[in-house]
Symmetry: C2
Subunit: 364 residues, 2 copies
């Protein structure tokens, strides 16, 4: 039984009559994305629009939200070797900001190798007593091909600085050095090493984008391997479905100024990492995994995020599995913009929320 | 300090170069909404698109999500007298569904008057022992002008049926019978009556759209009047900002098939109810109210919801005020579609979540 739209009723005399009328009136041409979700179903024709920068975000966030679409979003390297110079150039730009962040966030960074895996330990100046026996493991984002070396650090530094936890940031292997499941294996190796000396319930794993997917993938694999699970996780805007299924892949395309399109650079990077492996494998698209028994989880996204659907689908799936999972969605933000500027109040807010969630759920 | 977009960098050679290039290539015309948010800021040009029905929702929800835009969304009655026939016609259509819902949801409905306010008591067939000393108060949606009489009932019936609580649905006065703050006063009257005999901590208030706003408005007013506050609230996709500020008023316009546009029927209805009162008054736009000390709150929205920003802004504001507030966002849904079909699994899920939240926070 379907209720009519309150008091107004839906179109009954023709499919999308109102939309078509409006579209005709303003003379739009339609932008059909390459991957129809249900090819035979009726399509809603949404007209083009001029979208202003929202007034409901901080001035720092307004600059980020209002930035133009990422340049070269539709340049699609096809091999690990083609990705390497792109990743190196991006990393060089990111790394320039690390010293300033170190200072503002009051953290120190040390390089190390853990059971053969490259990593960084990020330590805040002050660790409160309740966090002294706790450890966070960070898996960075970047479509499985970007952010090598110190470029892996920003989100780990935000977390250490705003949350006052010690964080190990995993500088996992990426193409062309290694392919699926190298990133997952490296994350798991660091986790296994950590729980040799720390109760797994005192450990949390977090990361965003590919790092959000890796967080979920590590839990799936750890459970499969019979390991004790961590006390909490924070998958930020996870690339939980790399088969391009999910409504906001269409509805937020060309609006999200970071990922821009489901057919853009991030898809290209993921395919290079997957290296022919089935993209629907839950170890690449964890939304298809069984989430029963997962640790408490906090998920973060934004209203313009191309992966908002990827995020809310995981949230629903966790809740359906009975997991204590909470969701925060930030106004106006595109993909993973909550860790783009450490001076933005929204960044502090997002990581303080994650820290409070960890504090609530982790052992001491 | 702003980090560059990971490894790819943002446009540096021209504002919105990629977007403009794409737009030019497909020959779009731009649809500029009437209410610029920051008139002088750069605009992102988002091209027109064909949006398929998502495959990530239930078949029942796919029908609702895939329905055409609401007919007459841009017909704008200007007075209470002009609204009345529209409201009556809509109510007649909704009321036809009540008997079937009564049966499927295993609830009974009784009409009553509480301290002069028209209301209905919705009682589930089975009330578990923990809910026997609890009461929910429902304030319906409909832009403050729609859903009179039994048309007020659907959401209250979903809640009673899926959540197994006794619910009082307030059939508050609307134009042309009465104007701001009549709806709020009637809701408050029912609440005050309830807490004469039931501990306020055993009472929850809920409702969606205008009902979500009214839920928040009742709390603001109750606190102002020095009344004890309820144990929990569930503002669903609240009309928390009727000044049309909020990013998804633009980004989800012409995509949300229920409200369709910030300049549509719902805005017209609200203005008639406001009757010249300042729309930014927190008793009409509660996002501008002080939320310190608010009861625990669960908010519900959808990824296509025109009021997604209205919802997440309230969530953030509640969290900033230290309130235990949680958010659920459903894949693909437009405004308030979680209570459109009682056979949709998403409906059961949404109300079971709200019920679990109430169970956690209400006194017994």
């Amino acid at each position: 039984m379907r209720l009519p739209a309150d008091g107004i009723g839906v179109c009954v005399t023709g499919k999308f009559r109102a939309a078509v009328r409006l579209c005709a009136a303003i003379g739009i041409a339609s932008f059909a994305l390459g991957h129809a979700q249900t090819a035979d179903a009726p399509m809603l024709q949404v007209p083009a629009r001029s979208v202003p920068v929202p007034t409901t975000v901080s001035p720092q966030m307004a600059k980020i939200v209002g930035a133009p679409l990422r340049a070269n979003w539709n340049v699609l390297p096809k091999t690990g070797d083609e990705w390497k110079p792109v990743a190196d150039a991006g990393a060089a730009a990111t790394i320039k900001n690390i010293p300033g962040m170190t200072e503002r966030l009051h953290v120190k960074v040390e390089k190390m190798v853990i059971d053969g895996v490259r990593a960084f330990v990020v330590t805040p100046e002050v660790i409160p007593p309740e966090n002294r026996n706790r450890l966070l493991i960070h898996v960075h984002g970047g479509c499985y091909v970007l952010n090598p070396g110190e470029a892996a650090l920003p989100e780990a530094m935000f977390m250490a600085g705003f949350g006052h936890f010690k964080v190990i940031a995993v500088d996992y292997r990426m193409p062309p050095e290694a392919y699926f499941p190298a990133a997952l294996e490296d994350g798991l190796t660091v986790y296994k090493n950590a729980i040799k000396t720390i109760d797994s319930k005192n450990v949390a794993i977090f990361g965003s984008s590919a790092g959000g997917a890796l967080t979920l993938e590590i839990i799936l694999k750890a459970r499969q391997d019979g390991l004790p699970l961590p006390g909490a996780i924070a998958p930020g805007t996870p690339m939980s479905d790399v088969t391009k299924v999910g409504d906001t892949f269409v509805t937020n395309a060309m609006l999200d100024n970071v990922l821009v399109s489901p057919d853009g650079f991030c898809d290209a990077g993921t395919k290079v990492y997957a290296n022919g492996h089935d993209l629907k494998d839950p170890l690449l698209s964890p939304v298809y995994g069984d989430m029963k028994g997962f640790p408490p989880a906090i998920l973060t996204s934004g209203t313009r995020d191309l992966l908002l659907s990827n995020t809310v689908r995981v949230h629903r799936k966790l809740r359906e599995a009975g997991v204590d999972a909470v969701l925060q969605v930030f106004e106006g933000q595109s993909h993973a913009q909550f860790y783009r500027d450490d001076t933005a109040p929204e960044a502090k807010e997002a990581f303080e929320e994650i820290a409070a969630f960890f504090d609530k759920h982790l052992g001491k």
